[in-house]
Subunit: 396 residues, 2 copies
């Protein structure tokens, strides 16, 4: 029997996926599960986007342009301009989800054995894309005590080697909810310019910022044109995770020409989804205002409720819709499994994402979980109550 590749063997499994069999077994036993583990919003997709697909008159579902149509990319450029980010249609490639944008970016800037520095905890799938392309993730630790603020620049500089090609950030952060300040972005800009690195920013949660905080894009930073590469996605912005549409955005022409060659190999992004997404750009501002208000209320409720639990430390998220929660337990993997296998409160339990999978450093995050607040407030409240009672039962 022929053997699979080394990279296949080291490909990480999603931290949530491991729990799925236990969740399925719980459902079979009649247990109801409140899902705190996934970033699939319950928010409705804008009607204008859904209608555009329902009313389409295509007779041949043909390839689209590799980089997305001219009109769509021009409309995206106008979306960015409204957000005070000034780019041209030529600075944008439409991709199959933010995932593909990241793959193209990594492939274009780093080779096998090259290194990318990422503040941890970080979106677990970065590990997967790095592993698939043979790139080494070098983590720089951020702490729950600091609310996961940007680690000191010296910590980055200690890690830079001749193989370092880029710093990758997620802003606002999944799983931390941390929103980098303008000053932090400037610090990162200075370091990538000094060491001639790329700065890749996953800004898919751009719109989700709370407490009247503003998002600062790396594309707004002057003098960073040749360094800045933005990963974007419509998934969370319009509650269109199933569209699988994202963007790669950069003013570095060589990067864009290179990424386009990666894009050509896979021909084009999905056509129906582009119809939906082009229409989604006409979503009225009131939709976003309402969504943001809703997430902010959910966050406030969640943080308040969690803060009242004994021995629980929770970072204050300023954006996105996740938070990292430190629990008075040893091993969140076992606890998450136990919640599904052995625990229920009146026939109900919660599913959480153990946080160790969001760290690259072994042994970090083992007593932490990630919670996604993409549920109605009543469900969130009940979920925290279940968590509270479960912690009592587990610790005993």
């Amino acid at each position: 029997m022929p053997s699979i590749s080394r990279r296949g063997k080291t490909m990480p499994q999603s931290p949530i996926r491991k729990l799925v069999p236990f969740a399925e077994a719980a459902l079979k036993r009649g247990i109801k599960i409140i899902h705190l583990n996934i970033g699939q919003p319950d928010i409705k997709t804008p009607k204008v986007a859904l209608d555009a697909v329902r009313n389409n008159t295509l007779e041949v579902l043909a390839y689209s342009r590799t980089e997305g149509s001219e009109t769509y990319r021009e409309k995206i450029a106008r979306y960015y301009a409204k957000n005070d980010i000034h780019v041209h249609a030529d600075n944008i490639i439409v991709t199959t989800g933010g995932s593909e944008a990241l793959s193209f970016a990594l492939g274009s800037i780093a080779d096998n054995d090259d290194e990318i520095i990422i503040p941890e905890p970080f979106y677990a799938n970065y590990n997967g894309f790095a592993n698939a392309t043979g790139i080494k993730v070098v983590p720089v630790v951020s702490n729950i005590e600091n609310n996961f603020a940007l680690p000191p620049i010296e910590e980055f500089e200690k890690l830079i080697t001749p193989k370092t090609k880029a710093i990758l950030i997620c802003n606002p952060g999944n799983p931390t909810g941390y929103l980098y300040t303008k000053e932090e972005i400037k610090k990162l800009a200075a370091i990538v310019k000094k060491h001639n690195l790329f700065l890749v920013a996953d800004e898919v949660y751009r719109e989700f910022t709370y407490d009247n905080r503003e998002h600062h894009s790396i594309l707004q930073e002057e003098g960073l044109e040749e360094h800045a590469i933005v990963i974007d996605s419509v998934s969370k912005r319009y509650s269109m995770c199933g569209a699988r549409i994202g963007y790669l955005v950069s003013k570095n022409k060589e990067v864009m020409q290179t990424a386009l060659k990666f894009a050509q190999a896979r021909l084009s992004p999905p056509t129906y989804a582009q119809i939906a997404c082009e229409a989604a750009l006409d979503t009225p501002q009131s939709y976003f205002d309402d969504v943001k208000k809703e997430y902010e209320a959910r966050r406030n409720l969640l943080i308040t409720e969690l803060s009242e639990l004994d021995g629980v430390v929770v970072a204050q998220p300023q954006g996105a819709f996740y938070c990292i929660v430190q629990l008075p337990i040893d091993d969140a993997d076992s606890f998450a499994r136990w919640l599904l296998e052995d625990y229920n409160l009146d026939g109900e339990t919660v599913m959480v994402a153990p946080a160790a999978g969001f760290y690259a450093t072994d042994g970090l995050g083992t007593n932490q979980i990630r919670i996604a607040y993409v549920l109605e407030k009543d469900d969130l409240k009940r979920a925290v109550h279940i968590l509270k009672e479960a912690l009592k039962a587990y610790v005993l």
Copy 2:
């Protein structure tokens, strides 16, 4: 300015893409272009698929399952059973196009610097996927004189090294239109078993076989269960290139578990497209019969017309909808460009794909072009006439 990666620099450009600026310039001069260069069928997408999307009642365009829904994969398994290919839903992962299925397969079975043997000429984008993952393509030459039949097994064996992980075929072939016989598939099966390699078959043109020939899938070959990996796609089957839905199919459990981890990193295939594709499986047989009849008639016309041209050699395609044509010229790249830049017959010219991009060996295919017969018969006839007159003018 930070520099792009080596793999970015060596990423091949699509052989057609280079011609696009010249085509655009010709259009601006008012020249009409008949496109013999692309595999975008003009055939209508089955109504049942288009209607399913128009009638969808989604309110949240959510992620689908990473591997495609259980019901969809079961329906795909029934499609295979109808084609005498017996697989279970668990042997199938739904991917974003055949392209992604190939990426997952290559990533799962080969590491950086490993080798894959491919009979050339081959689908140009195989070079792109291999380059992106650091895998070396080792070509084994097939010839137009032999109609691009499978090269002798000794030619494969000469190329096998400890780094060889797989043989990759496209059956029926793009760009050759060659359909491997049952005997040829058995020869390939013997060699991969002997040398403990994977056999990857791109079978996206399965339905398009002519002269009452039957397609033999590597999945039908007994004893090949642990070696066989099939790449499939709905793009050409239902004229749904823009769906971006494909399948990875294998009975090798380790391969499937590994590919699933690659799939998890990109979350899920596009949701709307899966709605269309699940419905497309209900397309009546008459649709395929009509389409096949139409392509066979186009092929017959094209080959007859081309055979009458002086100095032109054309392979007889038995499947798919491409053929390689050898022209009495030195350099098909220059000729293809000249057709767009300097030639027209009554205001009309043709765009062809220079074949060198379908070869990995330098210097091969330089006097060949690929023609896709995805046009109405009248257009095809006129295109060959233009080609004939153009050759006279070019050679003079």
